[in-house]
Amino acid sequence: MHTIDQTLNEILTLTAKHFKVPREKLTPDDDFFKTLGIDSLQALDLLTRLENHFRVELPDYELQGVSDFRTLAGRIQARL
């Protein structure tokens, strides 16, 4: 069973790898739209990668208004 910190760490690592940014540049409370400079299509791509990685299904309406990694980790954690 993942702890919330493990989940958060895996999200940050996966995101850094996919968007080719140094892992240390990402922090849990970053607004990922701003930090990564991504649009909603890229955010959907990230959602799919996270669903595939954690083997969970995360309805996109649960992510409305979510823009920081910590809250995102909480949503995923609730389905692990």
Binding site: D39, S40, L41, A43, L44, D45, T48, R49, E51, N52, R55, E57, P59, D60, Y61, Q64
Partner: protein, 269 residues
């Protein structure tokens, strides 16, 4: 133009190893508007001829964003704004009847049809994939019917074909929540026949097309007719319901909001 090859602005096709390959290539997301419709109609006409000499049809996109983001809602809104309401509604009905004829032709085509999908496969894009016999999805594919967000239902045959293929509970979930599904979930509910690695959908579709080409053509056609009835009555009903809803003020508001969005891809939830 020969029937065997076509190079259009929105799509092109050619014949490769006994399969027709129809590629969508209209930036930014293969939105289906009047241009795509005209070229799809040319394809549907040519299909009657090329289907005699081929055993499969593969539909795919070479746009990175995905297979198809659905109907061209910007064009729909802008055209509607320039017309009287009755004329706009008549235009919508005409568009739907024409796209339904194309979809029905591909659905009934006497060969095995495969949608090789990736990325955004939304609305009309999902409806195009749904006319195919098989769907092969890259693991990054995302499926969605977002129409209810605009006060509409899918208009290119989505509900009758979804009902044909999936259980009613799943259909309700997809339509009434408007949520998007990933490829793994889509395979689990029976929408997708194979989930493949990123970037591999077309290659696997070609392998699958080669496999179906080994079978006797008449048997494949007979089996398909038996397995995959076309729900013509419900498809006609869908056009009527769509047009009724389109006349509601909420739709105009929804479309305006959509077209005024500054998002690069405002199809998303």
């Amino acid at each position: 133009m020969t029937h065997k090859a076509f190079q259009g602005e929105a799509l092109s096709w050619s014949v490769r190893e006994g399969s027709i390959e129809l590629v969508l290539h209209r930036e930014p997301g293969n939105e289906i508007g009047s241009l795509s419709l005209r070229e799809l109609e040319i394809f549907a006409e040519a299909l009657a001829v090329i289907a005699r000499e081929t055993h499969a049809l593969i539909i795919y996109s070479d746009i990175p964003a995905g297979f198809c983001a659905g109907a061209d809602l910007r064009e729909l809104y802008e055209r509607s704004q320039k017309m009287e309401k009755a004329a706009a509604l008549a235009g919508v009905r005409d568009f739907l009847e024409r796209i339904h004829r194309v979809m029905n032709t591909i659905d009934a085509a006497p060969l095995t049809t495969i949608a090789a999908v990736h990325g955004v496969t939304f609305g009309g894009g999902l409806e195009l994939a749904l006319v195919c016999d098989l769907m092969i999805a890259d693991k990054m594919t995302r499926f969605c019917f977002p129409e209810l967000r605009l006060g509409l239902i899918p208009g290119f045959g989505g509900i009758p074909r979804l009902k044909r293929d999936l259980g009613n509970g799943v259909v309700r979930d997809i339509l009434l929540t408007g949520r998007s599904l990933n490829a793994t979930k889509a395979q689990a509910v029976g929408l997708v026949s194979q989930v493949v690695a990123e970037g591999e959908a077309l290659r696997i579709a070609r392998v699958t097309a080669a496999q179906v080409g080994k079978f006797d053509r008449r048997t494949s056609i007979a089996a398909k007719k038996f397995i995959k009835p076309i729900p013509y009555h419900e498809l006609k009903q869908e056009i009527d319901i769509f047009c009724e809803l389109f006349a509601q003020p909420a739709v105009e508001q929804g479309l305006r909001k959509f077209t005024e969005s500054t998002e690069a891809q405002p199809y998303l939830p």
